[in-house]
Symmetry: C2
């Protein structure tokens, strides 16, 4: 293995598929227990979180990660938004005929490293192969099951007037890293995806600040889409202070050149946190004590309002409504 390309016959349930799965997947990811069954077994009690995401990022390798690392991080971060500890992840591959097996191995290596860091097992999976021109390299769908500790109730519907709005670090890194690579753009400082599993950071945060009401990872649609979703779920107004939102200089330059707004750019290793005001400092300290939250900042607050909306206080001090965008900004970013 390691040489050659994926063939249609690798996806049809026969000997070649069994061989590919054993050599590429099981050797890197381990297996559920008992191996060979169509369903993995988990032990669980209490409240579970359950989530899924499809990953179609283009290109499949980008600065700071690859589609495999992204697929693990995306799903464990969705579990983290419920305050859940991941129990198991599944991975389904849709592979375009002709994908280099070396590329597939590199992707599965990326998954294995991210899963190791997130302390979760890829317990079950599936592989399909489609003819050339019916996919683009590889698409991966991951699902995750997590255990929600007793007493934890974190939801986009729980934002309360007075809550502080925090973000765990600079925004837009993932979106601009992928887009720059795709468009062949070169900047003085390379922009690197923030793609990271945030479960450890979130556990430390919730331990330090049990008054966390909302967690949300601002992926597709960026900070703007995530804050709008929360505003609607909780029926509150969120005031966002533009000048307080951390953006790396290279990302700001790239956005300027491409005519993009970093508030709409995807992140894959950031968390929005809404927390009772008296626990704001404890929450910020817990975030900043973690490597993935070192540049955490307070970026706004939740206010009582008759209208569920996000109000942006611009750098000039004026206010405008920050909508979810309409129409395409960045396709295939995750």
């Amino acid at each position: 293995m390691g040489e050659g390309r994926v063939l249609l016959a690798h996806g049809d349930g026969g000997e070649m598929m069994a061989d590919l799965i054993a050599r590429v997947f099981i050797s890197r990811l381990g297996t559920g227990d008992p191996p060979g069954d169509d369903a993995a077994r988990l032990a669980a009690a209490g409240q579970l979180a359950f989530t899924t995401d499809a990953f179609v990022v283009d290109p499949i390798f980008f600065p700071g990660g690859d589609i495999g690392r992204l697929a693990i991080c995306g799903t464990v971060n969705d579990l983290a938004t419920a305050g859940a500890r991941p129990l198991a992840v599944s991975a389904s591959f849709i592979i375009e005929e002709g994908l280099a097996i070396q590329d597939l191995e590199r992707i599965v290596d990326g998954m294995a490293r991210a899963a190791g860091e997130a302390e979760v097992q890829v317990a079950t999976g599936d592989t399909k192969v489609v003819p050339r021109g019916k996919a683009d390299g590889v698409y991966i769908t991951t699902s995750g099951v997590g255990a929600i500790p007793e007493g934890i109730s974190i939801s986009g519907a729980n934002a309360r007037p007075g809550d502080a709005v925090l973000v765990s670090g600079p925004v837009g890194d993932h979106g601009l890293a992928v887009l720059s690579r795709r468009e062949g753009l070169q900047f003085e400082a390379e922009i690197v995806s923030d793609c990271a599993p945030l479960g450890g950071m979130v556990q430390a945060l919730v331990a330090a600040a049990p008054g966390v009401h909302v967690l949300r990872d601002p992926t597709r649609g960026g900070l703007a889409a995530a804050l709008n979703e929360i505003a609607r779920q909780s029926q509150v107004e969120i005031e966002l202070l533009e000048s307080a939102v951390p953006v790396r200089p290279a990302v700001a330059v790239a956005c300027e050149l491409l005519g993009l707004d970093p508030l709409y750019a995807a992140n894959e290793g950031k968390m929005i946190v809404m927390v009772a005001p008296e626990q704001r400092e404890a929450a910020l300290a817990a975030l900043r004590a973690h490597p993935y939250g070192a540049e955490a900042a307070m970026i706004g607050s939740v206010r009582e309002s008759g209208t569920a909306r996000v109000l942006l206080q611009t750098a000039l001090g004026t206010h405008r409504i920050l909508d979810r965008h309409v129409g395409e900004q960045m396709p295939r970013i995750c």
Copy 2:
């Protein structure tokens, strides 16, 4: 809605995506609780089963079903192979730009009906859109979480010498239904996919025959692949009686014409059962009492052997080894 086509902008996290999800998905499938979060919540205790499958069937509509019904049945049937009752299913869509929204609605209707029959909720989902020529209509990945009742231990590793090998009905219907439609073949009697959720049948079976050791749905690779997997997992020899395997006449004719073997053709509504010999009749009676098992038959037995293999006793009375096939027989059958 109902008119128009899916655009790239329907997949980018903005207003149009929220609209598509609300109108096409949530209206048909309901939502997890609380709606709007990235992870659904489930209550569970004890042993869980967890499974995933990607569906890339071509064509997406075929006699007896569609990719939506298939995606639900495939996953709830994988849960059923562990004796598990489904708790929740997730659904991730990878949609090719240009798919008719009417087609998407029809597919989601198919999912909703199958989920209703299986008594399971689609609790969480995801939607991505890729450019024209980067997929083929739509691909769906479903994952499922199920509860394994206490005392149940069903696995491909549990076959024991002496076990009776049953199948819940005629084999090859799904594979030949899809292939006939794809190749534009017409037969006197239309071949209809057997695509069905088997949880109810399995629960009745296990209640009547607690000595069920193995359940396996013979999908890709058919009966031959599934029996070979079980032989390896359990380190036993399985003798399969060719003349006892039920095959519909129309399927036999189509296989003859296409040069295919029904033992390798995919099923999406059949279950292989291995059960202690003293419970064989109780198991057959329970299967036959259910609409999806009316044509159940005993097709072989498990034997002690130094070699894990499947031995076929042909209609002529001779024996040969029935391998998993090598190389492609039927791509994109599920």
